[in-house]
Amino acid sequence: MDLTTIFQAVITGVLMAGIYALVAIGLTLIFGVVRIVNFAQGEFVMLGMYVTWWLWKAGGIDPYLSLLITMPVLFVFGVLVQRFLFRPILSAPDMAQIFLTVGLSVVLMNAALFFFTADFRSVKTTYSEWALRVAGITLSVPRIFAFAGALVLAGLLTLFLSKTDIGKALRAVAQDREVSMLLGIDPERMYLLAVGLGAALAGAAGGLIVPFFYVFPTVGVVFVLIAFVVVILGTLGSIQGALLASLIVGVAESLGILFAGADLGLVVVFAILVATLILKPSGLMGQA
């Protein structure tokens, strides 16, 4: 096997990490603050993709430009989900919360099928097929944009959480709900904000993925399982952890396909997850 092939696999893995990180950041934010493992996160991304597609189809709006609409729309959607679905069961056992989101994902997936049909949609942009060729390695330009988008969003979110008052309040609620209440923070509002932001990030993921992927009702399934592995590997609630873990997962999957077999890429990923958890039971960023 020549070196170019191996380099190509590594670089491709890095770019795949961008997609995984995009989906995982929203997931880890919602868990970090509200403590709900959202099995419907993939369907949130799916909604973001449909909104982006529809804006392009009906209004001719470029997918990247439409982030300005997609993200607020998904934010409102997330707020509604928190207000009417998550809030009533916040004090219920974890299991009830998880399965509520499972039910929500079934509803969203099939609502999409019912209203938008099973057709495979795609957005055609001038840059959809742009590619960079460097030393025999090919890089898809929209995938580079998605990767950059993931970094930018993660950076902005980290800044928001560490520099702004609202962000600090969010972190306070995430760390200790009771203490934050003593500080005069309203946790209910912070929860609305967190789920809203988590959904908006899913919307952004949708918008950044659409230029090179397809929109269909079950598309969330493609992303969500890997996103779970990423957030667990990188420690739930940690944004830096999610970024690091998505790089590991992306490169491992890509190299796994090259060396172990195209049907075993995920097996390699799961093996890494299990091995890591044996050594560090709460992920890379957790205490050993």
Partner: protein
């Protein structure tokens, strides 16, 4: 002292009698099929409940045990012609053996870490079964050859014998649960489920207690997998190792009420009712509508009773018992 004619006795006896004659009351085999599936999920939800409910370990990988049972048995039946009545135990044993490393790997993990790790293990197994298709026949799946009425091969022309086998298994799981609840293991698990550190401070070996519960749970799940393979004739990696099945198994216990004997029973009945009624009412007319309504019902029932339906149902039942006349009194 209560007379034998008290509703507390005759109501349960009546229900048991009803279950025994039930298949003869149902208008056609499809309804027998529904109650068989209910019973299978009573077994699966009940088995899951041993570790997931009492032990508080949210497993989302129970399909691994189910699929192992189904595959080990069917491979043995097809290759060596061994009776499923024997391979049933071997399938359960294989699932039990699988549970040992799973326990070692996963029991140090807490909450969502445990849940996602179990998903990972089950998915790995599914992908490996697909990969090693020389042994497992991969995606083609395995078929139990059609032999008509062959009781020794666990095949029957009618659904009624399947119903009684499933009913016995379901009752068996309820009895096992009750027994465990009263035994030391049950107490340990409940203590661990509530607060693992406190339980360990009291000298409970939490890893061992959980491993035992998981082994028992895996064994029962594996046996149920064998029954399912015999009943449904065809098994595939996706249908018996899939995440969807793992979720369905846990769901049954969670909707009914975890950590209770009768929770999974009630949960299995409710979930199967949701599935069947949406399929019957919408009958494939509008793609997506059936599952949309099913998902909506699931969300609604969890919002309504996040701790399971069982406490609500228990009150209903108590009310009924209180209101019913004694059998002797009714004559007067």
């Amino acid at each position: 002292m209560k007379a034998a004619g008290s509703p507390e006795y005759y109501l349960p006896a009546g229900i048991l009698l009803f279950l025994i004659v039930l298949p003869f009351l149902l208008p056609n085999p499809f309804y027998v099929h529904i109650v068989v599936m209910m019973a299978v999920f009573v077994v699966l939800g009940g088995a899951w409940n041993l570790i997931g409910g009492y032990g508080g370990q949210l497993s989302l990988g129970h399909a691994a045990f189910f699929g192992t049972g189904a595959y080990v048995s069917t491979l043995l039946v097809n290759a060596y012609g061994i009776s499923p009545w024997i391979t049933m135990w071997l399938g359960g044993l294989a699932a039990l053996l699988l549970s040992l490393p799973v326990g070692i790997i996963c029991f140090r993990l807490q909450g969502p870490y445990f849940a996602i790790a179990t998903i990972g293990l089950a998915e790995t197994l599914r992908l490996l079964v697909l990969h090693f298709r020389d042994i497992t026949s991969g995606a083609q799946g395995l078929t139990v050859p059609f032999r008509g009425d062959a009781p020794w091969l666990l095949q029957f022309g009618s659904k009624i014998p399947y119903y009684y086998i499933a009913l016995i298994m379901a009752v068996g799981v309820v009895l096992i649960t009750r027994r465990m609840e009263r035994a030391r293991l049950g107490h340990y698990l409940v203590a661990i489920g509530q607060n693992q550190d406190a339980a360990e401070a009291l000298g409970i070996n939490s890893a061992r207690a959980k491993a035992r519960a998981l082994a028992l749970s895996a064994f029962v799940t594996g046996v149920a997998g064998v029954f399912y393979a015999q009943y449904t004739y065809v098994i595939h990696p996706d249908s018996v190792f899939g995440l969807g099945l793992s979720i369905q198994i846990a769901l049954v216990a969670i909707v009914g009420g975890v950590g209770t004997t009768m929770g999974p029973v009630l949960g299995a009945v409710i979930m199967e009712f949701f599935i069947q009624s949406t399929q019957i009412i919408f009958a494939g007319q509008y793609p997506g509508l059936e599952l949309m309504v099913y998902g909506g019902l699931l969300v609604a029932v969890i919002l309504w009773r996040p701790r399971g339906v069982i406490p609500w149902f228990a009150r209903l039942y108590q009310g009924l018992v209180a209101r019913l006349p004694a059998a002797g009194g009714a004559r007067a």
